[in-house]
Subunit: 265 residues, 2 copies
Amino acid sequence: MKGIKIPPEHPRAESLRIRERLIEHFSEGVVATAGLIAHGRGEAFDYLVGERTTKPALNAIKAAASALLTAEKPVVSVNGNTATLVAEEIVKLASVTKARIEVNLFYRSVERELAIKELLEKAGAHEILGVGKNASAKIPELGSERRRVDPQGILLADVVLVPLEDGDRTEALVKMGKKVIAIDLNPLSRTAQKATITIVDNVVRAMPKLVEIAEKLKHDVKKCREILSNFDNEKNLAESISLIKESLSKLAESGDYLTLEDEEL
Amino acid sequence: MKGIKIPPEHPRAESLRIRERLIEHFSEGVVATAGLIAHGRGEAFDYLVGERTTKPALNAIKAAASALLTAEKPVVSVNGNTATLVAEEIVKLASVTKARIEVNLFYRSVERELAIKELLEKAGAHEILGVGKNASAKIPELGSERRRVDPQGILLADVVLVPLEDGDRTEALVKMGKKVIAIDLNPLSRTAQKATITIVDNVVRAMPKLVEIAEKLKHDVKKCREILSNFDNEKNLAESISLIKESLSKLAESGDYLTLEDEEL
């Protein structure tokens, strides 16, 4: 795969470029093996979502920006896939919302933590929590390495943005009383269902939008509180599911099909 | 991931075991990087299908068994993912339907061809076409290495079973006048839409079922012809899409969610 030229006129060029980037960063030790499989699941749901930021996704992005801007101690949690796809947007968002950035992996390895740290620093980050011995605190109720967090970061945070997080950890963070913002293309996943605010969108589209909206809202606390009090995550998720059903109906009727394959197997 | 113990009572144990097997065979050079991503897409659709062999899938399996049994020169095409997941069933199916087995990869490498050959031989195969210089024939209209097939196998075949194939190649084979049987969890994929007979099911469930049904039908050519003349692939695909929509509605209503994540990212 590596080094394959994707013709710009290819109908799936953007999706293929993203895939290519993940495979490259996999070789460099940033993305985990299971991260590639997870990306595939995301691709499938993205097709069903129509590969666009839907209305409910935009609502959730506005609520997410408001939650981060009105937080006492916001933290952006970063894993290998997120660092690969949106390192610059993570740094920008942290700057606009005064959030700290923490590397937080499902299965930790110092090598991967450092590779992710380097990627974020290249994108302009000055401080990265959760690397190596700094991840010394533990989330209750979670087994093994997955529970480790930074006592200066996620442990203290009141609002945590977890793009591409797993269900167990999302639930554990919510139980600790934190507001959890998830970015997850599958509106039926446990992460999506358990999070306080769920953005059903591709991180590649959602993160720049989140930065843009946070920029606009950053001096308007009143507006942020208004957005938050009007936001209903359950209702918003139900709308995302309805949109997928509609999109399936349309695709089936039009005889249009999704070119999900076109790749080496 | 490697060597992780999956508790047998885990609700997603089977799916995690399959994933684990793919990751292992990825390390051994059988599965391609993009094969892991493709597996993720399959996982997502499998959840939506309900992780079961549906009625339309069973209809397609019966038609597939009939097509293979009544073929002059049937061939089973094998790639890295298929060899990893169903090597024994491939060998059994080839034996029951008198089909030849051909290794057929999207991007070829002799190392991977040989690794797949070894896996199939361990599963009991005596003859494997399409390895190394044997893949000397070319499918028209396809670029580069993807078009290479064995002149003794796919080139001559009247019926080709292509589990997990890409859309371009499916279309090219159909244009050459071959009956193409695809196994693809995404009923909207180009492969699914272009194939002569499309089994919307996980290869892990579909292949043993296909062997079982071929065993039952193997002396009943009349029944095979009857099944084939009653089978309508387009109608059958539409039913698969309807089932996914129903399943989404049920999941959304019941508040049940799909634990698609729970994995390292």
